[in-house]
Amino acid sequence: MAQAPGWKEIPIGGMIPEKATSRKYMTGTWRSFRSVWHKDRCIQCTQCWYVCPDFAIMTDSDSKVTGVNYSYCKGCGLCSKICPVKPEKALTMIKESDAKKEMSHADTEGSGKVPNVAKT
């Protein structure tokens, strides 16, 4: 395994000389809960996309929600909290330890795929 760079090799002052580097940081690895999208219940209000702090709600080119990006979903539960659908929400929270691969819609865990930012 390569050694991390020395002080002469890195930019000074902790500056990062590129943009959008947060995409490289898989915040999904932090979670102990994950949000699960239920396509059949979803009314496509996109409030979940709006509140997600990690842009982890995926949308297509028509601005329709297509799923949760597990590379970045930290399991904060805001999407589930705001989901207005009754009697059962279109986004529910489950324990990460209970998550099975088959349960995830559009599971992109570890792929580093960037969610579409809806064109407004």
Binding site: W7, G14, M15
Partner: protein, 392 residues
């Protein structure tokens, strides 16, 4: 063509800032800095310069705004004293950690408590480990000239550290002197345009700064700062050479006075070094071989030059206008003695004086020379500082 004007130290520094014409100045008033900013903002209000002045709600905000402006790519400055410096303390460390070439005049005033608005060096001493370069001025002329050089020192790509330009509150800031002012065009040519390599307002090459480091990177970034401070020795010397070529006066790290055949010497910072020369001349007339060493660059500390300058002496005394309250001495003494350790065994004694603006008299300074004469013979300096001028 240089012109002479009778100016207070604050006005001389404000004039230097006017000639530099920084992009942004964010500041908050505090005695004895206030009239510096009043003068500077007058220049802006009169349309003589186009600096963006931000009147913030506290010194913490002042340094924060200055850091933000500097990071964005502006040549940014602020100014303060005492409690103001203390209030902006966390951001002072951030400024140097982010490697921003901010220049700040610090009008030296005692730290509270008790509240005291007069001169001592405790404020600057609080920042001696902050990674800021520190220049010290004896009078308004030096404050003016240090400001001009400070911009070049800070912005040098091998340095990129903020610079503190110190000058004594009231004594220099409010005292009127004949100051030789240089042609604005020449000053502008000397400081040049600020061309940062990396800055935030750059859509072509965007950057992010102010990030978190975990245990795996913090040390490396701090090591870079040590490297920059070491580079500052060379850069400060080079800028002084350029300044001499362009404007005339020569600047060193340490200014010796009547040191050629000296046997004893007094080391110190700031305006008292001027007062001291009266006593040195008096003692010399009596045949006492005493000289003085005025430290102009305190950070980085000129340890090797100091050791060279005192090498043949019998005893030295340090004037500390601040107390470290470490059970032993003031802060300058600690650096001086540490610099000399292993290089010379001469006795070094410390005098804490002038706290809270307490006047230092010629008699006080004569006492030091007398003491040095004794110590030169006994070869033993007292373990603790002598508190000069305090009522017992």
């Amino acid at each position: 063509m240089a012109k002479f004007e009778a100016l207070t130290g604050n006005n001389a520094v404000a004039y230097a800032m006017k000639q530099i014409n920084p992009d942004v100045v964010a500041a908050y008033p505090i005695t004895p800095q206030t009239s510096l900013m009043e003068k500077f903002t007058e220049y802006v209000a009169d349309g003589e310069i186009d600096t963006e002045v931000v009147l913030v709600e506290s010194e913490h905000s002042a340094m924060s705004a200055t850091v933000g402006a500097s990071a964005a790519g502006a040549r940014a400055m602020t100014a303060t004293s005492s409690q103001g410096f203390a209030l902006m303390w966390e951001v002072v460390y951030i400024a140097s950690g982010l490697r921003l070439p901010i220049v700040m005049p610090l009008v030296n005033r005692a730290l509270s408590a008790p509240i005291n608005i007069h001169c001592d060096h405790s404020d600057a001493m609080g920042g001696r480990d902050s990674g800021w370069i520190q220049l010290w001025s004896e009078n308004a002329q030096e404050a003016y000239e240090n400001m001009i050089q400070a911009v070049r020192i800070a912005e040098d790509p091998k340095v990129l550290l903020p610079v503190l330009v110190n000058f004594d509150g009231f004594i220099i800031s409010h005292g009127v002197e004949n100051v030789s002012l240089y042609d604005t065009e020449k000053v502008r040519n000397f400081v040049g345009e600020y061309r940062p390599k990396h800055y935030l307002l750059n859509a072509k090459n965007p950057i992010t700064i102010g990030l978190l480091d975990l245990t795996d990177y913090y040390f490396e970034h701090r090591r870079q700062m040590a490297d920059a401070m070491k580079n500052a020795y060379g850069v400060i010397g080079a800028i002084a050479d350029e300044f001499k070529k362009e404007f005339g006066p020569s600047y060193r790290f340490i200014e010796p006075y009547r040191m050629d055949d000296a046997e004893i010497a007094v080391i110190g910072l700031g305006s008292t070094m001027g007062t001291l020369r009266v006593v040195i001349d008096e003692c010399r007339a009596k045949g006492i071989k005493v000289g003085s060493l005025k430290i102009r660059v305190f950070r980085p500390f000129p340890d090797e030059e100091l050791a060279r300058l005192v090498s043949g002496l019998k005893a030295v005394a340090v004037l500390d206008r601040a107390d470290s309250l470490n059970g032993i001495s003031g802060p300058l003494f600690t650096d001086v003695r540490s610099a000399l350790y292993g290089k010379t065994a001469i006795p070094v004694s410390d005098y804490v004086y002038g706290l809270g603006g307490r006047e230092i008299t010629l008699d006080n300074l004569r006492q030091i020379v007398t003491d040095l004469g004794t110590i030169a013979g006994t070869k033993k300096a007292p373990r603790e500082s002598t508190y000069l001028g305090v009522r017992v």
